[in-house]
Amino acid sequence: MKKFVNEVDNILSESLIGFGKAHSDIINVNLSPDFVSRKNKPNKDKVSLISGGGSGHEPLHGGFVGYGMLDAACPGQVFSAPTPDQMEAASNEVYHNKGILFIVKNYSGDIMNFEMASDMIDHANQTVIVNDDVAVEDSTYTTGRRGVAGTMIVEKTIGSLAETGASLDECKNFGDHVNNMTASMGVAFSSCTVPAAGKPTFELSADEMEFGVGIHGEPGRRREKIKSANDLTKEILDNILEDLKPNNNQEVLLHVNGFGGTPLMELYLLFECGQKLLEKKNIVVTRSLVGNYTTSLEMAGGSFTITKLDENIVNHWDSPVHTSSLRWKI
C-alpha cells in the first residue's frame, strides 16, 4: 500500500486535524469524539443539519459543513458508520432551538448508530434517509437501496431551506422530497484500498468493470466486460430514468460524480454522453455538477445522479453556499 501516511491508525485523526487547519475560517474539528462543525454559528434560529458516515468518501460529509449546507458532520472509521457519541456531541455543539435533522445514507450501520444517537439526545430530532442508488432492488422486505452521490444534493437543498428558518418538519419533508426526486448509479474500473487492510478490496481483471458498484467497493449488480462510455451511459441512465419516470421536458440536475481515481477529463466526457442522451429523450439538463464529491478513496469509476427539478429544489440548489468543497455566491 502506497499512501501518504505516518501510522495507519492515525490516518483519520491526522487528516481531520489538517482539514481543520486548512479551513479554519469556516469549520472547527473536534477529536474524540470526532466531528466537524461550523465555526460561525448562525445567529438566527434554524434547524441544525447533521450528517455523517464512514470516512473514505471525502469531501462527503465534512467538506459540506458550512453556511447553506451542514451544521456538522460525523466521520466514522474508513467505511464504518460513526458512533452515536459523535452525533450526540455534534448535536450539543450545533443545536439552535429548532431541532436537529440527521441526514443518513441508507446502510444498516449508519441507520442503527444514528438511531442510537437519536435515542440519546434530548433535543427534538428527525432523520432523512437517503437511498438514491437504483443499482440495487428496492423491496419492502429488504433494507432497500443504498445512499450514494445523491446525498450531497439532499444536503445542499435542505441546507438552504434550513437557512430560511424553516421548521424541523418542513426540512424533514423537503429532504424526503428531494431524495424521492433523485436517483443514481455507478460503475467501478478498479478497487480502492482501505488503509487498515493495506490491499485492494477486490480485484478486477484488465477488461472488467463492476456495474452498479457501491461507494465502499461493495459488489453491485454484476461484473462484466468494459464498454464504451456511450454504452455505459445508456445503460446507467435507462435504470435511473426507469426509476424517476420524468415527464416530457422535465428539467433536471445532472451530476457526474467521480469515485476518486478517475481524471476530470473522463468525468466531463461522461457528462457529455449523459447530456446528449437526455436531450434525445426530451429531458432538459438545466443544472450540472461534475467532479469528485462522493468518493471511494482512490477507486476508479464514477456515477450519474439525476435530480428532477421543481421550483423549490432549483432555488435551494442555486442559493449561496460556503463549505470547503462546494461554494458559490458567497
Binding site: 458508520a81 487492510a197 477486490f202
Partner: protein, 207 residues
C-alpha cells in the same frame, strides 16, 4: 461470573478472531465493504484495555461499561449490534442466579435487544442466524448441570447457524444489496459471532 472470567473470555475471543483474521476480512470483502474484521478487532482491543479499570467491578457494571465502550469506539453495523448485546445483557444480570441461568437470561435479553436495534430476525443472513439459535438453546439448557455438555451443544448450534447463512439471500445488512449474488457466501458477522461463541465455550470444555 466475575471480572477475571469475563476478561479471560474476551482475551480468548481476541485470540480466536485474530487466528481467523484473513478469513473474516475476505468474507466482508466479498459481500460487504471489508471493514468487519477491523471493527471487531478494534472493539476487542478497546475492551482488553479496560481490564485494569473494570476487573473488580460487578459483572453488570462490567457488561454495561464494555457495551458503552463498543458503542463509542467500533461503529458500523457490528459496533451498534454488539454494543446493544452487551448493554442488553447487563440489564438482566441477577447475582442471585447461578452462572448458567444468569448468562442464559442475560444473553436472551441481549439478543432480543439486537433484534429490535437491527429490525431483524433469524433467516436474514446476519449474525442473528448464529445468536438467536444460541440464545434459544441456552434457555432450553439453562438448568443442565453438565456445563461442558452445554458448551459442546452450543458450539454445534452456533456452527450450524453460521453455515446456514451460506445459502440464504440476505434481507438485512449490506449483503441484502446483493440479492442472489450473495448466495454461497457466509455472512461475516455470523462467522465472527460463531468464532467468539466457540472461543467462550472451549473455555468451559477445557476446564
Amino acid at each position: 461470573m466475575n471480572g477475571i472470567k469475563i476478561f479471560d473470555s474476551i482475551r480468548n475471543i481476541e485470540i480466536t478472531i485474530n487466528n481467523h483474521k484473513e478469513e473474516i476480512e475476505k468474507l466482508d470483502q466479498e459481500i460487504g465493504d471489508g471493514d468487519h474484521i477491523f471493527n471487531i478487532l478494534r472493539g476487542l482491543q478497546e475492551l482488553l484495555n479496560l481490564k485494569d479499570k473494570l476487573v473488580d467491578e460487578t459483572s453488570d457494571q462490567i457488561f454495561k461499561q464494555l457495551g458503552m465502550k463498543i458503542m463509542t469506539t467500533v461503529g458500523g453495523s457490528s459496533g451498534a449490534l454488539f454494543a446493544t448485546l452487551l448493554i442488553g445483557m447487563s440489564k438482566k444480570f441477577n447475582p442471585e442466579l447461578n452462572d448458567l441461568n444468569n448468562l442464559s437470561e442475560m444473553f436472551y435479553e441481549g439478543v432480543e435487544s439486537m433484534k429490535k436495534r437491527g429490525k431483524s430476525d433469524i433467516g436474514e443472513k446476519t449474525m442473528l442466524d448464529v445468536l438467536i439459535p444460541v440464545s434459544k438453546t441456552l434457555i432450553n439448557l439453562k438448568d443442565e448441570s453438565n456445563i461442558s455438555k452445554v458448551a459442546e451443544k452450543i458450539i454445534i448450534v452456533a456452527k450450524d447457524g453460521m453455515l446456514s447463512t451460506k445459502d440464504i439471500i440476505a434481507t438485512k445488512g449490506r449483503a441484502s444489496f446483493l440479492g442472489e449474488r450473495a448466495k454461497g457466501h457466509i455472512d461475516p458477522g455470523a462467522r465472527s459471532s460463531q468464532l467468539a461463541i466457540e472461543a467462550i465455550c472451549n473455555q468451559f470444555i477445557n476446564n
